[in-house]
Symmetry: C2
Subunit: 303 residues, 2 copies
């Protein structure tokens, strides 16, 4: 059973999210009514030894840190601010106390950096290390950004060069500041964090929004040593991909001194990588020589 | 590193729960401010193959069902009502689609029974099956029941006979109705669900409340084939253990037609098993012949 099929199955079984729930399955976070001014954001993201990291050679702190960072990234992708986490752990029987404390050091370190409190959890024995963080955050109602708001003719942007999932995945900084800047100062129509490669994540935006998209090979920024294929189909990059109208994008780049990503170099954090098209056009990649091809709906395989 | 030590370490590192949080680490749920009338309850409980169940011979539905039931039990123990869950799964690579759907069938089945909506989750590949459910619920402010409210001279009660963790643990019904009855009709001073054996869980109530307790061997109801040792130190029973003043308990039993648990037989759902004592008396078990011994602070070992 493929992951996309399974998610579709779960979503059908779950039905309508019901009273008090603005968004259920199908976005980076669930969105719940909270008070007059805010929605409550809720997400969960699990790290599994052997799938997301190897225990051997990985500093324990970094594992704990990443387990929280991927969850912060989910809150960021909705335009919100993280507030609280719970941490459910599966700990191998023979693991040393210092190793376990090292993981929690990483967890508490990144939580402190972002003003997040650890307010609950669960501890279990497990064959392999499992760290499952659940996160809760708040977003001002007018600043909520969904996957489903992309519109035809929107530009598609990304917050930074796609990096190698293999080498750098433990050290990424969740794009929280950037997301908060965007949700406050700009009119962003849709957003997602690229945890599974740009192609699959753009596919999610297009599917939720009922649109197609066209990405330009030459416009996708890559970190050193990364191929385009890797960026599209496997990157665990945790950049934000978002869409906005052309006029809005112009304002964003005026604020940032540069419209063309190529011209901005390191100073410009936002790169235009494509545009939103009608649904019937599907998901399409324009190669450097101008040839068009289909984007495959595969990314990092969770199953 | 023992679990109790680890929890103490985490709790110290976590510090004060901060603004908007009424209870952080140290109860069945985290308790957050919500609106004028309600608190928000939040808990997470993970099931790990090999630790909490064996895949071989266990119906998939029952695994999914239990993963939600243990979380409902956490909400019940605070006096609240469950509303939403997220489900993070680690799925073994070779698992058949029908098996995965079976697990979700169990999840959706029990959620439907309790009016709970599945509103998010995460899917990962894993060596062994992991099901980590996070749950959110609400409780009317005046109906919140904490672990920390036990008072000297309170009676200690339990909602039913302790059952065998080995045989019946997959089929237990979370004591939600009973908890809601208690939180509405009675003044309950403290409550916990007995997921780790009565001794460890009473230890938690006593530690949070700054009191001691005295349990009576002859008063602890056991299901067929279960020894007292098992009930005290290993039961995965998911009954509610709670404490209340003697006068309040009398009212409860008048409502239920019987004060003495022995007299009520199957009809009476509440059994008095002991009483709360000053802290200096510690945790104590009175044997049938009248001899007193210490309760050991061990239960189901998660680590």
């Amino acid at each position: 059973m493929k992951e996309l099929e399974l998610v579709e199955y779960i979503r059908k079984r779950a039905g309508r999210p019901g009273k008090g729930v603005k968004i259920g399955i199908g976005d980076d976070c669930a969105v719940l009514e909270y008070d007059a001014k805010h929605y409550l954001l809720w997400a969960t993201d699990m790290l599994v030894e052997g799938t997301h990291f190897r225990l051997k050679g990985t500093p324990y702190r970094k594992i704990g840190r990443k387990a929280v960072a991927v969850n912060i990234s989910d809150i960021a992708a909705m335009g919100g601010l993280p507030r609280h986490v719970t941490v459910a752990m599966g700990i191998p029987g023979g693991m040393a106390g210092s190793a376990v404390r090292g993981i929690y050091d990483g967890i508490f370190g990144i939580c402190k950096d972002h003003g997040i409190k650890v307010i609950g959890g669960d501890i279990n024995r497990s064959g392999r290390l499992i760290v499952d963080v659940s996160i809760m955050g708040l977003v001002e109602k007018e600043r909520l950004i969904k996957r489903s708001g992309a519109r035809e003719k929107d530009l598609v942007l990304i917050t930074g060069p796609v990096r190698s999932g293999k080498k750098e995945h433990l050290d990424f900084a969740p794009r929280l500041k950037e997301a908060r800047f965007l949700s406050r100062r700009c009119k962003i129509n849709s957003m997602i964090d690229t945890s599974d490669g740009i192609a699959l994540d753009m596919g999610r935006i297009c599917s939720e929004s009922g649109v197609g998209c066209r990405l330009y090979e030459g416009a996708i920024p890559l970190s050193k040593g990364l191929t385009l294929e890797e960026a599209l189909y496997s990157g665990e990059s945790f950049e934000l991909v978002f869409t906005m109208g052309v006029k809005e994008a112009r304002k964003l780049f005026l604020k940032r001194r540069s419209f063309l990503p190529q011209a901005g170099g390191r100073e410009c954090e936002y790169f235009v990588i494509g545009e939103i098209t009608p649904k019937k056009n599907g998901l399409c990649l324009i190669r450097k020589e101008g040839r068009a091809g289909a984007l495959k709906m595969t990314g990092f395989r969770h199953l």
